[in-house]
């Protein structure tokens, strides 16, 4: 076998910034997730939920149901005021999609991040023009992309569908805050879920420990919060429940808070989420090293 490496030509162009190189990490991550047939079951659940909302919005706007029937349908499906066109429906939709995303991430975390540490694949990244910050940001953005594809994008599509079906631009103009709120709320969900899952996966690496810990964070903490709240009645125990924190921050984004107490709780929830994510980021930066030093 003769080797002729004269075909490698000298590169005369500008190499792209390492931050742009990080987009390759996002591409690889999406490829890995969407290649796994088992993940498609969870993705299909999210898609199904979106299609149900899509169909409901269409039906309520286009089919002339009697008012009582319409209300009963909505109550039976448990969607509440989903198709009212205000923010409530979008908050609820995004929250329900977040549950599905949470399930997906419990398994995808090991694939996308844990495997890099388990297989010691970090040298492939860190021997390139990117450093650990580029790697971390790339992974966070990869998880955020997955979360956004299942929460923000469908919510925006529902918003446009609703306005489209009203046959005028008034809905979009009058409710311009809704897509902004969707994006902001989506950014918060992305930031929280991506930071927590990337950090957990970097330390735990394997599917089972990640799934158990991830579930504990969102299920166990919620149960603990309810138990503690039932003890002394203080609503602030709810701050240890990340789902509740994200829900209140979402309502803050949509301006859906009714009382000062709810507003205060939402502000505290935002601070708690920022603090938790900051701590997770610090732990993550320390974890991302090319060499695992065993003490």
């Amino acid at each position: 076998m003769g080797f002729d490496n004269t075909r490698y030509h000298g590169w005369t162009g500008e190499l792209q910034s390492p931050w742009i190189s990080s987009l390759a990490i996002i591409r690889v991550a999406l490829l890995q997730v969407f290649r796994r047939k088992s993940y498609w079951i969870v993705i299909a659940l999210g898609l199904l939920q979106f299609l149900i909302y899509w169909a409901l919005i269409y039906a309520v706007n286009q089919v002339n149901f009697p008012h009582r029937v319409q209300t009963d349908i909505l109550k039976f499906m448990g969607f509440g005021s989903t198709t009212s066109g205000d923010g409530n429906g979008y908050i609820r939709f995004m929250r329900q999609q977040s549950v599905i995303v949470m399930i997906l991430l419990a398994f995808a975390g090991s694939l996308l991040v844990g495997a890099d540490f388990r297989m010691n694949s970090l040298p492939f990244y860190l021997s390139r023009r990117i450093n650990r910050m580029h790697y971390i940001v790339g992974k966070l953005m990869a998880i955020s992309a997955i979360v956004s594809l299942m929460t923000v994008l469908p919510a925006l599509l529902l918003f446009f569908e609703y306005g489209f079906l009203t046959a005028s631009f008034d809905y979009w103009i009058d409710n311009w805050r809704i897509p902004v709120s969707v994006i902001v709320y989506g950014a918060i969900i992305c930031a929280v879920l991506s930071t927590l899952i990337v950090t957990l996966s970097a330390y735990l690496q394997r599917v089972a420990p990640i799934a158990i810990t991830w579930s504990s964070v969102f299920v166990l903490l919620g149960s603990m919060a309810r138990f503690l709240r039932s003890g002394d009645g203080s609503n602030y125990w709810g701050l240890i429940d990340p789902w509740r924190d994200m829900r209140y921050v979402g309502r803050l984004c949509f301006g859906d808070l009714e009382t000062q107490e709810q507003y205060d709780f939402a502000c505290w929830a935002l601070l708690v989420l920022i603090a938790v994510c900051s701590l997770a980021l610090v732990a993550l930066v320390r974890r991302v090293r090319a060499v695992d030093i065993v003490e």
Partner: protein, 305 residues
């Protein structure tokens, strides 16, 4: 391009990775030899900017190894066997190429060329999960070659590759070296390094114990006797004749086999020739037992601080 280590020390807490290591690695193939835990991987990771030195400096040309500019100067093939099982070889090499900052089109061309060079172009669409160990080694080598770097850092590149594949990879590395590239090959397959490398760097316990060509290194070990095995008839007569020579340290006799230790191999071989002609000794076999890298390394490791 020169790869330089200047008084480099790397500590992992109380554990010494490398200790006051200084060397210059220039164009050509340099074999990096050492036992497990000697510091080979630490050296590779320091050179590839994955670890920061505790003291001293590592430079690639004029760039500090930790800098972004240095990372354009080398290709690194780590000693890892499992990675991204769902991806095909082509997708993996392409993704790694994009991380350098090339445009999509340029990355595509370079990754295809690298796959041709390592002999994986006809199997590039196979998922890595279905690749053999040797195929994975080739894919790793391909991702190290894509940016046509002046320095190649290869950690155990021949591991798991069949003899034909090793020959091909060896030819590839020799062709790369002939273009003036600096290639550092870390290996436990000492025989392969012996035949491939222009020079050897031996490390033990975090220190360089020897550097140069293998024969240079062997010659440095003047306090280690040279061992030769002969199968002769009559063996006992030959043994008594050899013991009369000053340059022979010892002779061990087992049947027709003599194991001779000598400090002056050139003189010894000349003496053996004279004895064979003069005393009608029949020599069935004569072989040097420790000119290979294994033996040299064994001597040096024993002497390492």
């Amino acid at each position: 391009m020169l790869l330089s280590f200047d008084h480099v020390t790397k500590l992992y807490g109380p554990v010494v990775g490398v200790n006051d290591m200084s060397c210059r690695i220039g164009p050509g193939i340099t074999g990096l030899l050492g036992a497990n835990g000697a510091g080979k991987s630490t050296m590779m990771k320091l050179a590839s900017g994955q670890l920061r030195v505790t003291s001293g400096s590592v430079t690639l040309g004029e760039h500090d190894a930790w800098s972004s500019a240095a990372k354009r100067c080398f290709g690194f093939s780590p000693d890892i066997n499992s990675f991204y099982e769902e991806m095909t070889g082509r997708e993996f090499v392409y993704a790694m190429t994009r991380l350098y900052g090339y445009t999509a089109r340029e990355a595509r061309e370079r990754s295809e060329q690298a796959l041709v060079d390592v002999g994986m172009i006809d199997r590039a669409d196979r998922h890595i999960a279905g690749c053999s160990h040797g195929m994975r080694q080739r894919i790793k080598l391909a991702q190290a070659l894509v940016n046509d770097p002046p320095i190649l850092l290869l950690d155990e590149p021949m591991n798991g590759i069949d003899p034909g594949g090793r020959r091909d990879i060896g030819e590839l590395l020799i062709a790369q070296a002939s273009k003036g590239k600096t290639i550092l090959v870390s290996s436990h397959i000492l025989v392969e390094v012996e035949h491939l490398a222009d020079s050897i760097l031996m490390i033990a316990r975090g220190r360089i114990v020897a550097s140069g060509t293998l024969s240079d290194v062997r010659n440095l070990i003047d306090d280690q006797p040279f061992t030769v095995q002969l199968v002769v008839e009559p063996s006992r007569r030959m043994a008594s004749l050899l013991l009369a020579f000053d340059e022979v340290n010892s002779v061990e006799v087992r049947g027709d086999t003599l194991t001779v230790r000598t400090r002056k191999p050139a003189q010894f071989f000349a003496r053996v020739g004279e004895l064979v002609m003069r005393d009608a000794i029949v020599v069935h076999k004569m072989v040097s037992l420790d000119t290979g890298a294994d033996a040299v390394f064994g001597y040096l490791e024993q002497g390492a601080p």
